[in-house]
Symmetry: C2
Subunit: 173 residues, 2 copies
DNA sequence: GTAGGAGATGTTATAATATAACATTATTCC
DNA sequence: GGAATAATGTTATATTATAACATCTCCTAC
C-alpha cells in the first residue's frame, strides 16, 4: 500500500536523502492528518490542510510569514491571522511543531503519539529531524527529579551538521 | 570571603529559596563578570554592567524590553539597540543565556565554563534554574552520533513546576 | 427549509521582539 | 595630540505575533 510505504520512508531516516521522493512524505502527512482529525472530531478545512501541506513542503522549518507569502499567491484574503490560526490548530493537534530557536514550524512525523519535540537542526541545509529518544527524556527526568522539579514540557533543539552536509563539507569548505 | 560564600550559594541550589539573600547573587555575578572581562580583554562598561545587573535582578528571565523600560528611567538615551547590543556582548562572553522559548534573558551561573544551557523553568513563578548535567548532554550526543549528526549547540528548556511552587500548589490550587 | 448558534475565516489595526544604518562620543595606543 | 578602534546615540524599520470585531459557513433542531 502506497501510504504505508511512504509513512515508513518518512519515519525511517532522520535526515532523508536529498533525492528522496518527497511527495510521499507530504502525502503521508496529509493522510495522517485526515485520520487524526476524523478521530478527534476536528475539522481539517481546506485552509488548514493547505497550511499543513506548505509546512511539509520540505524538511526545513518554515516561518509563519514564509507560509503567508506562498498562501497570498493563492488566496487574496490571506493575512497573518490566517496563518497563525491554522498553525495554532495544527500545533494543538500535534501535527506540527514549533522550533523555538528559529521561530519556525515543521511537520510532525508521528502526531498520533503525544511527545515533546526533540530536534536536530542542520545549520548548513536548514533541515530538521525529529527524534523521540527515551534516553534524552529519561536523563532530563532524572535531573529534574533530583531537584524536585515537575516536568511539563520539553524544548530540545540541537543545532549542528546533518550527515549529508558533513560529507559535502570536506568538498566545499 | 564574602564573594566565595555568595558564589557558593548561587551554585548550590538550582531554585534558591524565596528568602535567599539575592544581593549576594548579584554581587557574585558582577564580580565574576569583572574577572572574566579582565581575563578576556573585554570592556565591561557601565552600561553593560548595568544591563547585567538588571538581568540578575531576579532568577526570572527578563525580556529585552523589560530591561529597556527600567534602563530608560535612568538613561534618557536608552533605545532597543542599547539593550540588544549590551545583551549581545554578554551573550558572547557567556555571562547571560537566552531562553528561546520565552524570548528572554537570564544570568549565567558559571560563565567561566563553556557550556550549552540546560534550563528548568517554572511556569508558576517564572524562575529559571540552570543545569549542567552530563547525562543529558551524553544522551543527546549518543542519539546524534547514531544518526551521524555533529552537534554544535544545544537548546534545552524544560518547563514545569519548581519545588517551591509544587509545595504551595496544594495550598492554592 | 430555515432560524439559530458554533466554529471558521476575513479584515484592520497594533503589539512585541529585533536589527539596519549612520552619527557621535569615548577610549586606546602610538 | 591625533589617528584608529570600540562603544554608544539616534532614527528608522524589519520581523514575529496577537487583539478585536465583522462576516461567512456549516450543522442542527425544529
Amino acid at each position: 500500500m502506497a501510504l504505508e510505504k511512504s509513512m515508513k520512508s518518512v519515519d525511517a531516516g532522520a535526515f532523508p536523502e536529498a533525492e528522496h521522493d518527497h511527495k510521499l512524505c507530504v502525502k503521508a502527512a496529509l493522510a495522517r492528518a485526515g485520520i487524526l482529525c476524523r478521530d478527534r472530531g476536528a475539522r481539517l478545512t481546506a485552509l488548514r490542510r493547505r497550511v499543513l501541506e506548505l509546512v511539509w513542503s520540505g524538511h526545513r522549518p518554515l516561518g509563519a510569514y514564509e507560509i503567508l507569502d506562498i498562501l497570498r499567491l493563492e488566496r487574496a484574503s490571506a493575512a497573518p491571522p490566517t496563518v497563525y490560526r491554522a498553525l495554532d490548530f495544527l500545533l494543538d493537534l500535534g501535527l506540527v511543531h514549533r522550533i523555538e530557536s528559529m521561530n519556525a514550524y515543521v511537520g510532525c512525523c508521528s502526531p498520533e503519539t503525544n511527545h515533546g519535540g526533540q530536534f536536530l537542526i542542520c545549520g548548513a541545509c536548514g533541515s530538521a529531524a525529529e527524534l523521540t529518544d527515551k534516553r534524552i527524556d529519561e536523563a532530563i527526568g532524572q535531573s529534574a527529579a533530583e531537584i524536585g522539579f515537575s516536568v511539563v514540557r520539553r524544548t530540545i533543539e540541537v543545532e549542528g551538521l546533518c550527515p549529508h552536509c558533513l560529507k559535502t563539507e570536506g568538498v566545499n569548505g
